[in-house]
């Protein structure tokens, strides 16, 4: 049995878990923000073209 193995496992385990969680949460945030931006931009485009359509009629 290696002396101090538990400290090495703890250090590498904490480091790895931190970044797995960090990357997962950041990617999730990016995805949510991107969807919201796309939805709002689409809504804005629709509302800006609607009065023009009515004028054309």
């Amino acid at each position: 049995m290696l002396i101090g193995l538990e400290y090495v496992v703890a250090a590498y385990g904490i480091w790895l878990c931190t970044f797995v969680c960090y990357i997962f949460l950041t990617k999730r945030r990016l995805k949510i923000a991107s969807h919201a931006v796309d939805a709002l931009e689409q809504k804005n485009t629709e509302s800006s073209t609607r009065p023009q359509d009515q004028n054309n009629k």
């Binding site: 290696l2 002396i3 101090g4 193995l5 400290y7 090495v8 703890a10 250090a11 590498y12 904490i14 480091w15 931190t18 970044f19 960090y22 990357i23 950041t26 990617k27 945030r29 990016l30 923000a33 991107s34 919201a36 931006v37 709002l40 931009e41 804005n44």
Partner: protein
Amino acid sequence: MDSMKKLMLYLEWVSFLGLLGCGLWIFLKLPIEASQGFPQKIMYLHVPSVITTYLAFFVVFIFSIAYLWKRELVFDQIAKASAEVGLVFCALVLLTGAIWGKPTWGTYWVWDARLTTTLLLFLIFMGYFLLRMSVNDRDKEARLASVLGIIGFLDIPIIHKSVEWWRTLHQPSTLFKVESGQASPSISPELYYPLVASIIVMLVFYIYLLLLRYQTEKRTDRLNQLLADTQD
């Protein structure tokens, strides 16, 4: 797929394979260091994390100055992204250092100059985010955070020099040791090269995280702008 997405995917894979390769090298090929024993392996995580923390806060320093000078939002977005990544690395530096300290020094923590100034750096950048959260105006938030980011970075030269200026339990610089004007790392080549490889891989990993976080910041700002326009 746009070029930024391609670059991020490339960096993600390079970091993942690099970290895996370094891990295999450290645990399967390297001998166990004679004086510290197996816990010395923590150094391949701790030292690269320290250097990445320094770089991340240096980026905050540069882009905070750039923001105060040019008032371009993109500079503040990069500074904020780098500060967050740097804060995560700084927390891991404190944690991995404490875990290494227990078998080596016999204690997790001592109020040593190097450890205390590193904790101070962590607290300054915690304050940096609290400050950002407490201000509603985006421009004011960026201005105040830039000033704090510049002041916060000034702690890093103190951290680096603390082992020379004060009597500390922390060992002096081994990787950046300078003797008679020349760099002479006090570490055997067998242990030196995997450490340098770990540092390079960690820096690539930092660039990947910075880009990922910057993309999120850019999108969040755009969302806030659209929501403000909708309310008007």
